[in-house]
């Protein structure tokens, strides 16, 4: 799998992501600059976490207008695979590549803790290493992760099975009203979604920060291993 990571001014989890990608591919991903106007030949583009442009105005709003996003849009149109994590997810919604928006966490505080995700769909390049309904642990770290969408969009997401991950208890129960299992207040406990063609995935938590037993576990690894398998070529 050939991968690339986009760095915006204020991005700060590009190194974490590079470590995770290198771990499964054996090679360092290409690092792209927000002002680049072309993409290298890659299978996967990752928009990593951080505070692009300080997250001033709205998280991801200014990064969504970076020169490189025009390239990423056409990469998406050509069926390219894109993973947006945390700030990357916010950027994907701001560009309209994924629907909905991310509001301030319901408790109005930055949250940095482990959470559990239930895998809702397993026929995608991002999730096929898990069993449907599997639950895994992953860190999250964000101030604006409260996913929302209008009723129509929500209906479509749920109806077409575009919810990839939901916040859950360790036992897999999903309770949207309960902050111990749905920490940021996301609607329907939505933690990650995918595009209709299943090639664009956005999620708030950070599986890339849990890919090494030294750091407390490898629970996030299946996502990256799954991607590599999807691209054997």
């Amino acid at each position: 799998m050939k991968s690339a990571i986009v760095v915006f001014p204020g991005t700060n989890r590009e190194r974490d992501m590079a470590i995770a990608l290198k771990r499964v591919t054996g090679k360092a991903p290409a690092m792209l600059w927000h002002r680049d106007t072309s993409l290298p030949d890659v299978d996967l583009v990752v928009l990593p976490g951080g505070f692009s442009y300080g997250d001033y105005l709205r998280c991801g709003a200014m990064a969504a207008h970076s020169p490189i996003m025009a390239e990423i849009r056409s990469f998406a149109q050509k069926g390219g695979h894109i993973l947006g994590v945390c700030n990357g997810f916010q950027i994907l919604t701001e560009t309209g590549l994924l629907p909905g928006a991310l509001l301030r966490n319901a408790n109005l505080r930055f949250l940095s803790q482990d959470c559990h995700l239930r895998v809702e769909r397993t026929d995608t390049p991002f999730t096929h290493k898990w069993e449907k309904g599997a639950v895994f642990r992953t860190p999250l770290a964000h101030g604006d992760g409260n996913y929302t969408a209008d009723a129509q969009t929500l209906e479509r997401l749920e109806g077409e099975g575009l919810v990839a991950f939901r916040y859950a208890g360790a036992d897999g129960t999903v309770r949207a009203e309960d902050t111990t299992t749905n920490p940021n207040g996301s609607i329907n406990s939505i933690a990650g979604i995918i595009s209709e063609n299943t090639r664009i995935c956005g999620m708030m938590p950070h599986p890339e920060d849990l890919v090494d037993p030294l750091m407390g576990g490898e629970d996030g690894l299946p996502l990256f291993e799954g991607l590599v398998e999807a691209f054997v070529r």
Binding site: G10, D16, F51, F110
Partner: protein
Amino acid sequence: MKKTVDLSLAQEFGLTPEEYDRVLKIMGRTPSLTELGVFSVMWSEHCSYKSSRKWLRTLPTTAPWVIHGPGENAGVVDIGEGYAAIFKMESHNHPSFIEPYQGAATGVGGILRDVFTMGARPVANLNALRFGSPETPRTRQIIDGVVRGIGGYGNCVGVPTVGGEINFHPAYDGNPLVNAMTVGIARKDRIFLSAAAGVGNPVVYVGSRTGRDGIHGATMSSAEFDENALAKRPTVQVGDPFIEKLLIEACLELMATDAIVAIQDMGAAGLTSSSVEMAGKGGVGIELDLDAVPQREPAMTAYEMMLSESQERMLIVLRPDRTEIARKIFEKWELDFAVIGHLTDTGHIVVKHKGAVEADIPLDPLAEQAPIYDRPATTPVAPAPLEGVHAPLSLDAMLLRLVGSPDLASRAWVWNQYDSTVGGQTVRRPGAADAAIVKIEDTTLGLALTTDCTPRYCRADPKTGGAQAVAEAWRNITATGARPLAVTDNLNFGNPEKPEIMGQFVAAIEGMGEACRALDFPVVSGNVSLYNETRQPDGSTMSILPTPAIGALGVLEDVSKAIGLGMTDGTAVVLVGETRGELGQSIWLREILGREEGPPPRVDLAAEKRNGDFVRAEILNGTISACHDLADGGILVGVAEMVMASRIGCELESPDSGIRPEAFWFGEDQARYLVCVSDAEDFCARAEKAGVPARLIGRAGGSDLILPSGVTISAARLAVAHEAFFPALMER
């Protein structure tokens, strides 16, 4: 503002009549307003260390692994494999009282700059916080703002906040303490210093523009607080962590070239202290053209620019033929870059603005004739022995009360607002071990990091308290398996012009120095914050508890050997170290009996070293699976913390120690650890051989803490008591 320079203006600026006299002698004339400003900030307590320097010099600062001790922007130690760790702690106490969010945020920003200015990529932040009584609404506001501010800045710049400490005491009601620590990593042959060199070399300004922020911040932070403090609000600085993040990346990119001769952050007293210190240290002169300074506000005067404390700025002396390379890097990161002067051979700082010379000061006398005071100090009175102590409640009731008390309750509410995993190198997050563990990318090395101080001990007996703070930091690092290397400190005290406060200061340093020497644990950087007092409405002043906060760093050659503090199932729990049952100044005494009395626990540095070296060796040999050092709350609280961290229970044995139960279980004797081992007999035999007291006290297993009496408390129940305090206080 009044513009005539005279004694009364000098006094307004914080200079004494004698100091102003000295200014007149050095200048041979009445100084200009800008010159007076330069003298007043350079001679402020904050920049000149005039009350503390004599005593700071007594601290041990060398060891074979120390690369740079005090005197640089931060301390530098060799951690092996060609790497150096660079670290320092700094206070932002007064700003955090006035505007908690921005005060704390800019505190984090400032200490980050001190570290990356030396060439290090920051890899961890910690903080040491002291707040007033939790009951007052103002305390809650301050906690809320400080925690948001530390998170707001650290999370955005992408440096994980991995540790810290928090205490509450009414003595901090009008004067909270916010001490922030940053640790960075550099190749040890790529360290950047601040001494300027090369007459004619360009002096370059990078980062954010200069506004009228925090003018006279340095002199304000050295002034006692009174009820007018809130009127001084316009001096508050606002931080921009986004710009800081760009500045880190741009500086590190520039540091990978050979363009830099010297570099220094603009901290307190901004352009003044950075230019004066860089030129002074290099023994050269410096000429600044303020017209070239990037400015945020119109019509700024020379005085305002020289004293502004606008954040996120750096001063760099470049090789002249590398100026364009440097400019390109800062343009890429969209930061301001301006050549604002050059080095000269005059030995003077000359400041020009709009064609006029606004300041022309000889640097040597400015530094060499800076006031140094040997202030009168009274020896602290030894506390009376503790008497008349009895336990009013059952052991389990006292334990539940203690684990939920403000100083011992879970801090998860706080650290869950700090990004502790960004960077992907955090091996032990807050709460998982006695020191945080951060791996050094691309190596097997790990750093162990902690901050410690027990102010109630320091008030009762400053010397013992100073030693205890160092010993506890050393013990916390040891408990993870790491080798303690060096210390940074943040000495927070009251008004040094009062002999009893100066006495606390002198005694605390004496204790720290003894401990550092005995433990081979030199001080490589630090910060002093004095005048931490609040004038009360009735005219009296209230001083904070003497708080010499210690930040410490240790190293693990193989980070995979680091252990945490959670109980490991099926192991024997062994107590290492001697227990006499010292309840003086204990948390138990304060929380259960409402008394703050007696002497603090004795600090036996030889025992500390012996016990710690033994425990560390055992950890590295793989015979210890979990370890927790004993401090606040003593043995029973220590056991409960291990149980809560793992949700694995422990069945305790009856001590048969000849010590009263409350003293045995809650005494705060030093130099002790609880360890989980698979073979207690073997372990205790090895301990005995090493001259280290060790005894089996229980077995880990199940999910309940079982007291010797048979009373059972589930891990879950302990956790509920432990975790309630902060949410109940802050989310009401």
